[in-house]
Amino acid sequence: MTSSRNTSLSRSVDRVTGGILGLIAIVSGGLVLVILWHLISGAWPAIEAGRLGLFFTDGKWQPGSERDPQFGVVPMLAGSVLVTLLAVALALPVGLASAVFHRFYAPPALERWHRRMMELLIGVPAVVFGFWGLMVVVPAIVRFAPDSPGQSLLAGGIVLALMILPLIALTSQAALQAVPAAQLQAAAGLGLGRASTILSIALPAARGGITGGVLLGLARAIGETMAVVLVCGNIPQIPQSLLDPIRPITSTIALEMGYATASHKALLFCAALVLVLFCALMVGWLSFRKSASDSGTGGA
């Protein structure tokens, strides 16, 4: 009797909790759709006017020119993608190295200090990174290449790398921490040295977590605005070298949205839409790769 009442009570508690959690999940998921809807309705005037084609065929972005207005989004998409890839390429080796150091080599006191520094780095506002980049990284680039503007793809890549480094380092650390001790002990039991244990046991086992960190880093870097607008030079062009200025899509929106009038504004919404779709494709592809490789390791 008592037990059956308990069961029915816990069942109804379950139902209520499940309902509330479900509602919260739906609302938070639905917010993305609301934002997407807002973007699409903002971009609609340009889509309706058939200007989306120009978006990909125009070579330049000069919406304010009276003589020769052009609305090419390709150079800016290239800027966004290149600066993001550069940032990940710079941050991944350093982040992995620091995670390995943290997990396998660092004495406990140093380990705790190092972790605190990484967490602090996450909390530094983007505008501080940007200003630091403009005042330190850009002059360093100019010293090294006196004929270049300094504000460039390279400067953007370095600043973004520093911003996503803690994300990659901390998630990689967590992933390495989660590798079962038994596996590492087994490796030691087989007579493997520390280096080969790390390379052939720990890192492959932590691959899923590390990919997750890279994914977070990619998403943060491609969406970053305040820092890149200060150091990238903001010239909408496909860069020929690391020292050329670029203009990511986010910078364009930040620089022009407050000043844009009707049709120009709709095109900026289009640009934002392109960025969101690109991001979705990228995340989708990487998670597909991740799940494929996860099931691959599971099978092996």
Partner: protein, 268 residues
Amino acid sequence: MLTPVLLLAALCLGSCGKGEKSESIIVTGSSTIAPLVADAAKQYEASHPGVRIEVQSGGSSRGISDATSGVAELGMVSRSLKDEEKTDLTAHTLAMDGVCVVIHRDNPVKQLDKQQLIDLYTKKITNWKDVGGNDATVVVANKAEGRSTLEVFLHYLDLDNADVKADVVVGENLHVIHSVVSNPNTIGYVSIGTASAEEKAGTPIKLVVTGKVVPTMEAVKDGSFPITRPLNVVTDAETSPAARAFLDYLMSTEINDIIEKHFFVPIR
């Protein structure tokens, strides 16, 4: 677009309902004028209890559109009104501002005439030695679309923005100054107010003599400096009495000290 307007309206109603005499005035527009009006508003609020003035920046274009649509009572516009804008709006000039060319303090160039500026900004001249400077590549900093400094500067040079071949595009005045500081080969332009304030504060920049006139406040005031612009507050046909009173205050000599504090030039 409708939602923020409704929210704003709801906020207004809320604040109006609280105290009988409480009135709020929204002023939006040019980021050049906003700090000046914000300071004047603080002083005005102190002497007029019950009045709340909210100042938001976002560029002259926003000042125009907000004043036209009624989102803001007063719009701040740092240029002369275009003909099509004059049908709906009236401009009230608070003060004058000059746009001046800035380079690094270590750059030996002292003056540039109009043709040299055109050649520099269209990359016909790419080395500082061709205008009397060191043998170094010129880095051209331009403003982003929509900035009134850009419009004033290009209007003076008689250039379309598509003709300008920039190496760096920036948004804010201070970003231009920081770009010049971080790369001494940079040439840029900002409002004289910002440039003099930064120069006085010890930032390593130099204001370039243009058209044989030294960029100073006096030269802007007497009209001899060639690159100037009016700082306007615009109103449409329906201005509330509270906003009208604040406008009268802005147009009086009472705010001359605030204008000078912001390195603009009073005209009354």
